[in-house]
Amino acid sequence: MGDFRNRDRAPGTPAADRPRRLTRREVLAAGGAGLAGAALGAAGLDRSAGPAEGAAYGVPGMSLDLPIERGASLRVLRWGQFVPVDQPFWDKMTQAWSQKTGVKVTIEYVNWPDIPSKTAVAANVGAGPDIVTSFFDDPHLYPDKLVPLDDVADYLGKKYGGWYDLCRAYGFNTPVGHWIALPMGTPGATVNYRVSWVREAGFDAFPKDIPNFLRLAKALRANGHPTGFSLGHAVGDANAWTHWWLWAHGGKVWNADGSAGLHSDGTIHAIENCKELYSTMTQGVGSWLDPDNNKAFLSGNISMTNNGISIYFIARAQFPTVALDMDHAIFPVGPAGRPAELQLMPMAMVFKYSKYPNAAKDYLRFCMEEGNYDQWINTTLGYYDATLRAYENVPVWNGDPKVKPFQYCLRRGQVHSYATVPGPRPAAAHAEYVVVDMFANATVGGKSARDALANAEQRLARIARG
């Protein structure tokens, strides 16, 4: 992480600390392409081989027999790809299962923030896709409408080194006592930063704690390189970094018993420090949606932001000077003294209205078996973290060192309802951006830390009353 050598620099390329100024048109094109872009192949990153025999990750000889219903067919609602090698591989994997079982599978890929509303409709009307891959604690909104997945979850867990604690927290519903969803793979997030500018700010290594992180941010700003973290309603990026910031300072939204737990010195400290961080940010962050920080980083407008690996992907394809001069770092640890990150979590669930629950379960099992799942993680080049521990060291993590910081995201993650179990109330607080708005109130809105906290508490109390 702290190694700032430009490891990917080809001989004769311009010095990374003198990046070419990108034109407005170039960045617009990149942004319009959804940032992941179709140019991965051009960057030499397209390794989309089909499913193949993998190394030995699982316990040999274990199998799960799920008799597939006669005449079965499946409809799957899945998130649209973040990186362009994802969907082709997933389709090939699906075709392989279809050929093996004779079950036709229709996959609908949807922009991920749109999935919860579609899932809500399916749950309420009792019809729709057999398998839905939604996010975070969406399955916990309707646990009694979902097919228990204990057999598949237990089988995969035993065969592949167990699920991460975070995955179990999202997949297992305590009130009904069942696994109700399978965590499919986390699109990990880290801090994305410009190497030369961080070095210019006097830091040889990326800070590992909040005080130094703030010092770095101020030094970057002083050098004319503002930072940029969304304080708008960016469902992925804004929620991710503000929750990390709150948790890192020892704050939390919920107590273990499910009551509102926002009121604490840690929260006040987090808000006050956020005001300092805000003073280092570029203008406009108050309205940033998810693509905005990508655009700003690629244009050289900001020196640091939080994101998945997609900025790096598009940089390698279209902005090589940025790619050479950027790196990733894990989120610094705060006064809480331990890593506390909010990582995105796609969850696959099977609705009870499905006529073919066994087919659905077997499809999910197949996708997570050795030879498929490890290849998917490898093919997507580090965009996803495997949710089963045995896959933690797949080869992709030993390739490009700039990908390495994404490897252990699941070890550092906390469930978004922390410190209580997932359910409707944490889901509502998350959907209503209570934490994001609290920090935005104190920064963009200019309120005092105590007023911002009081406002958030008022909103949280309403949600907690149910």
Partner: protein, 309 residues
Amino acid sequence: MSAVKAEAAVPPAPRATALGRFFDNKNVLGVVFVAPAVLILLALLTYPFFLGIYLSLTDAIIGRGGHFVGLANYTGLLGDPLFRLVTFNTFLYTTVACTCKLILGLALAIVLNREFMGKRFIRAIVLLPYIVPTVLSAISFWWIYDPTFGIISYTLRHLGLIGHNIDFLGDPGLARGALIAANVWRGVPFYAIGLLAGLQTVPGSLYEAAAIDGAGGWSVFRHITMPLLRPLTVVITMFSVIQTFADFQLPWVITRGGPNNATHLYGTLAFQRAIQGSHLGEGAAVAMAIFPVLLLTVIVSFKNLRRED
């Protein structure tokens, strides 16, 4: 005589069947003709409307039927600072946007009512903002207002008129203004074309008489054009207020309600709470909060129209 012969040549009408007699009954026929429309209204408007009222009185969440909680959702909203902010935002948005749309729409209609070359083409072009799908125009405005790459900031900066980009969407005040401007751009054609149709019904003889009497332009506009346009203006404004008050797509695509909830409207809040937050009861209560305002708008409008009659 020939007429009598001709009448005699007409073949006798066939005897009506029972079904024919049934449909010959004016009362029955009226009901039959109206029934499809009534059924559609019941299924697509009345049922969802009353379902919304019912849900707003329950604590229903997605996937679970709710229990009756009386007015708890409404009283909860009254004590909710975000709801109060959203109420302010919505009223501000509707009032400013509809006023601007009315003034600009009327001005445009008057211009389009004059004779000039390419009149038909220009009239067709004017409708474009209204024809373009809202989401597409919203995405365009999102780019136009982009804090880093927005075309307005880019142009002004290159003309040397500003030193740094304008933070259209990051500053609460500017964001409200930017969103209103987008709504005005989209809504002006609705007023312009509607009022243009009204202008074309004003008899030319009135203007000629006024000209003979020596009336000036402003006098003609004030004493002839405005009074005759008023009923149509009331109807157009009423529809526009209803649409603007319940706007969802523009704020959702451009700001998602940010920054700091400065552009959160009733529509976006209802969606956020009912669907994203899964609290259907509360979301329905937010949606129903729109109803009294819209009802009042309709009542005032129709009273105004009746007075005109």
